[in-house]
Structure formats: C-alpha cells, structure tokens
Symmetry: C2
Subunit: 368 residues, 2 copies
C-alpha cells in the first residue's frame, strides 16, 4: 500500500497521511460517503467532487445481487460503471450478509444465504468475495468477515474471530494485487479486549495493506466504541491506514481521529440529509420543523455548499413539506460538504499542531 | 409587454421573438419547465440554467395552498423564495381548481373549493388570484379562467367562455402593472370554433400583454388540438406572445410553432424523466428495459447534457432498477435539456428560413 504519513499530532494519536491508488490520491483522515448501490444516494459524481470527496465506498454484497458481476464486468469495472474515476473502497458485504440476508447458514467454508430482494440463493466464500472485488476493480477491497451483534456472548465472539481470521488468511491467499488494488483485514472481537488484541495481532502477521476495525457502531454505547478503538489501534502498524467502519457522527470522527484512525465511512450524513436533518458547527438543524417556515437564512451561515449558497431554510422546509425530491438532495449535499470540511479542518489542525484545540472547541459546540 | 419580433418563417406561421422582463430576457419560441410547487421536480436551479432554461412556470393554486401567501411574501416574492432570478410565469390555477380541488362550487363571483391536500375551504376570485400573483412577483401572470373537460357539450362550453371573459375583464381591472409584471388572457371555447373566435376577439379587445390557448391537450385527439390552435391564432395580434398551455410532446411543439405559437409549458419532459423515459432525436428510450442493462452508450449519442456526458444507459437502468433517486434526476435533466435544444433548433431554423425542413426531418424521425 502506498501510504505516506505526512504529520503526527503532538498531543494525541491523530495523524495526516496520503494514500496513492491507481485512481489518484486521497488524503487521510478521509471520510468516504456511502454509495451502497454504486450511487451515493441523491448525489451525482459532480456533486461529490464539488464537495471535495476524494474516495467513495460501495458495497460488494449489494453490487453482487444488483446489477451483478456480469454487468459490471461488461462495463469494464465499477469505476466505469458508475462514472467515478477517483478511488473506491468496497466493503466485502460481511456486515450485510449478517444483517440483511435471510435464511443465513454460516459454515467454515462460507455463507449460504437468500437475497433480501428476491429470495434467490447464494453461496459466498472469502475467495469468491475477493474475486468479485477484483472484477469490480476496487482500489481497496475488504476481506469477508463474520460480524456479531451487540451484545454478544464471549464464546460466540471468540468463534467469530477464529472464523474471521481463517477467512482473512484465505482472502490474502486468493488476492492477486494487480492493477494496484489493495486488501484490508478487519479486526473483530466485539467488546472483548483480549479478542480484539488476538485478532489484530494475527491480521498484522498476515501483512495486509491496511486494517479496519469492524463490529463497532453496531448498537453498543459510544464509550465502548471509543475504548475498543483506542485499545485496538495500539496493535496496528503505524505505516498502514486504519479504518473505523461505519462511524459516525461528527463528534465520533473527531474522537476516533484523536485515537489514530485514518478512514471512515458512514450513512449518517446522507441518511440524515434525506430525513431533513442538517449538520452545522453549532448543532443539528431539523429542516422539517415549522420554525423554519419563514427562516430565510441558509442552512448554515458561511457554508460554501451549493445548498447554502443558493437556497434558504424556509425553501428547503417547503420542499420537505410538499414531498419534493430536491429537498433530499440539498440537505444530503450540505451534510456531505459539512463532513468533508470537518475532515479537512482536522487535517489542517493536525498539520499545525492544534488538533486538541479544535477537538475541545467542537466538543463545546456539540453540546449546544 | 416588451415583446420584439425577431424573425418570421417564410413557409409557415413560425416566428422568433424576445420578451424582456424585469428578471431578464427570454427568447421565443420558449419552453417553460413546470415547477408546480416552486421546484422543477428533481432539478436544481443550477441544473435548469445548465440546460439553458430561460423561464420556468409555477402554479398559483399550489403555491396558494403551500407554502401560502404569507411565507412567500415574507421571503420577498417567489423569485427570492425559490432562488430563481430569471423570469417566472405563474398559472392562475384555474386548471387545478377544476381538476384537483374537491367539492368545487363555481359561481359568477368565483370558485369555492376544498384543498386536495387537507380539505381546508377556500374561495378564490379573479381579483384575489391577480392579487396573489402580484405578491408572487410573477413576470407573467395568468387570469383565472373556467376550464371544461373534453368532451364538453356546446352549452357548457359557451357558459364557461362567458364566465372566462367576465373574469378576464375583472382581472384586467384589478391588475396594476407595477414592477414590469404582465397579465395574459386565456382563450377558452373547447373544440368549438365559434366560441374560440368569440373568446379570442373579446380578450384582444381587452388588450392583454399576451394570449394563451387554454382548455387544449386535455384529452382531445391531437388533430383537434392542432386545428383549434391554427384556427385561434388567426384572431390573436402579431405583436403579442401566444402561449399554448400544457403542450406537449416534441412533435406537438414543432406543429404548434408552425402555427405561430411562441410559448409552451408541459410536464412531459419531467414526468417522463421520472418514469425512466428519455426523449432523443430518434425516438423514446425506455431506460428501465432490460435491454439497456449492458448498454454502455449515453442516453443519446452526441448529447451535451450532464447525464449523457457522465453516465450510461446501463448505469441509469441500474439506478431505476434499485430505486435510486439519482436516476429520476438524470433522465429529467436529459429531457429538459433535449426540449431546450429542440426549441433552440427551431429558433435557429426559423431565423435561417429552414424551419419547414426541420419540421419534416423531425416528423420522419418521430416515426422511428
């Protein structure tokens, strides 16, 4: 993995880096908007580029079911299919197999499941998932892992770690790092420190291009997410990117960056956008609320996003009130822009050794 | 009305003009995308400008109900409310009162009805509708008229014309042409030539800023639409814009321009866009169809719209297949762009005295 560390914060474990892929560079900390079905919901590629998005996430499970390998292969890979020429990370779909699929049967060999869409039967193995992501042409692909729910009994979590490690080894073996593709391992272990440690160490011994923390932000208290993140990062090599999967809210990103996390993905900005909830430096704005009806300020004063430059809270509230699609898009756009600015501010603050100050300022504002 | 005739076709009644409003100039023939609820469905103002849209239509009936006069007044008018600084025409809502509202009671005084949204009771008069459109700040406002269905008995159509003329007179009296606003009369008369003639002549005697043909494209055979359009235009002054309401499909626009029509509005490009039907020079493309799954050409070869420059048929088919909003927007955008190009091509052809050739070419292609 071509990962260059640019700066390290003096007060925390925060760091700034650069990842070179065959589809260009992305800087870390990086936030990846979620394009589950090969589209970040409501947004065009131009919208994403205008927000400063450098890498998007998509999902092997969803793409495997629709449109399917055949079509993406015919298109010449996922980048060409979705018209996005910058880096793409694809999740293996482990989480989706365990949360969406029905009649799931997990064996050491792999997972048999029925599609949540049409009930069709599928059997996925770690090797098949690597092969599929190779076809996708993902710049970063994730291994298939076994996810557990929260709370999870120790024995179950231990068994999942064992299988995750076994599958990680098989994935690594299957992986042919052609065209500059990269493969990340995923640390499981629920909220058990010894399992997290064991899993992290074993994965590092396999030498992946980067390491993800999986099985967090699945319903556990935020204190546990933070604790597990801080704890697990210690076992990961400094010269590889660290990716905290499925996190999170703005404050969670700041906390995790302080712990040394480099990459994030989360549906929070886009899902909230479609619900009419906007993020601002001074807290959330619920645009559907009647109090916005005659509020002709932008969502956030001083914000440079297209929604804030062009439209008012009152107008966007009207769009939600009458069920117009443009509303969903404008708030999603604002939120993705907000997340990119937050990530950029963190990068700048780390470079200038004032990350702790930014962290404290934002904590204070988060309470408003 | 500041309407300048630029060119007249030598073979047909087609003409090119320019309308100056206090929000800028629009050229005719003009096609106005429909922004019923102060938004052209799925498209941002930037999208519309990128398509070359010079004027949009909105609807007084819908805006009167939501967000209501109070909010738009507080925003400083409709242009400011929706963030669109180019010309706006607002329909009076006559058609909507007669097609959407429930428990409608029409009297000579006005229309009592219940909102189709919440059942609230309202009473609209011609004067009130002019007053509301004055508050909206519409560059062109339409009088309240009485619309009839197709087919319509002669006596009913005659009575509607009488009332339409009475209301037109009251609207004209109420209208204070401040801030460069303009008021158009609407010719009714169903499919009866004598009624159309009577209505047109009486409206012209009242001296409106422009004249619309209403009550067409309401289900009658296209031959009748064409015949009534050709017939009625003859009674309208050459130095005022002529607006055929609610029309139509690409071929309808070409036919109507040949008859001397200057302005159009229709939901066809946007509604079809949301259904996944795209217009091209060689006919319609039904993007949902499975045959597009591996078709990685743009919707239309050579089209300069954002959707065609950035995405393929196969990808857009996938978006529709998995229910992603971006699909609705991309096809709407393409269709609005297509309509603007068609209108521009007609303007150019008229200026260069080759409109008949264009008309024949397009008729041939429409059959494909």
């Amino acid at each position: 993995m071509n990962f260059e560390l640019i700066a390290k914060d003096k007060d925390t474990s925060a760091r700034v880096g650069k990842v070179k892929t065959s589809h260009g560079i992305f800087e870390t900390p990086a936030f990846m908007p979620v394009g589950t079905q090969a589209t970040v919901k409501t947004l065009s590629n131009q919208d994403l580029s205008d927000c400063g998005v450098q890498i998007v996430l998509s999902n092997a499970y969803h793409l495997y079911l629709r449109p399917g390998e055949d079509i993406i292969k015919a298109a010449g890979g996922l980048h060409k299919f979705m018209g996005w020429d910058k880096p793409i990370l694809t999740d293996s779909g482990g989480f989706q197999v365990f949360s969406l699929a029905v009649l799931r049967k997990v064996s050491d060999e792999g997972v048999e499941f029925q599609s949540h869409i049409d009930g069709s039967k599928h059997f996925l193995t770690p090797e098949k998932i690597v092969g599929f992501q190779t076809t996708l042409g993902s710049d970063i692909m994730m291994v298939l892992d076994e996810c557990v729910h929260y709370p999870c009994e120790y024995d179950l979590a231990k068994r999942a770690v064992k299988r995750t490690l076994d599958w990680a080894g098989r994935s690594k073996k299957e992986f042919k790092p052609n065209k500059g593709q990269n493969l990340f391992g995923i640390v499981q272990g629920a909220s058990y420190k010894d399992l997290r440690e064991e899993c992290a160490k074993a994965l590092v011994a396999m030498d992946f291009d980067g390491y993800a923390l999986g099985g967090l932000a699945v319903g556990e208290p935020k204190e546990i997410t933070r604790e597990m993140t801080q704890f697990t990062v210690e076992f990961l090599p400094e010269d590889k990117p660290r990716y905290l999967m499925g996190v999170g809210e703005p404050q969670d990103l700041i906390d995790a960056v302080a712990s040394g996390i480099d990459m994030f993905d989360c549906v929070v900005p886009t899902r909230n956008g479609r619900n009419g909830t906007a993020f601002t430096k001074t807290g959330r704005v619920l645009l559907r609320n009647a109090e916005n009806a005659k509020d002709f300020r932008p969502i956030e004063e001083g914000c440079g996003c297209y929604a804030c430059r062009s439209y008012t809270r009152g107008y966007i509230r009207h769009l939600f009130n009458v069920g117009e699609i443009l509303g969903l898009k404008l708030v999603s756009l604002h939120n993705v822009y907000f997340y990119q600015r937050l990530i950029e501010e963190m990068r700048d603050a780390i470079k200038e050794n004032r990350f702790l100050k930014l962290k404290e300022e934002r904590q204070w504002k988060a309470k408003l």
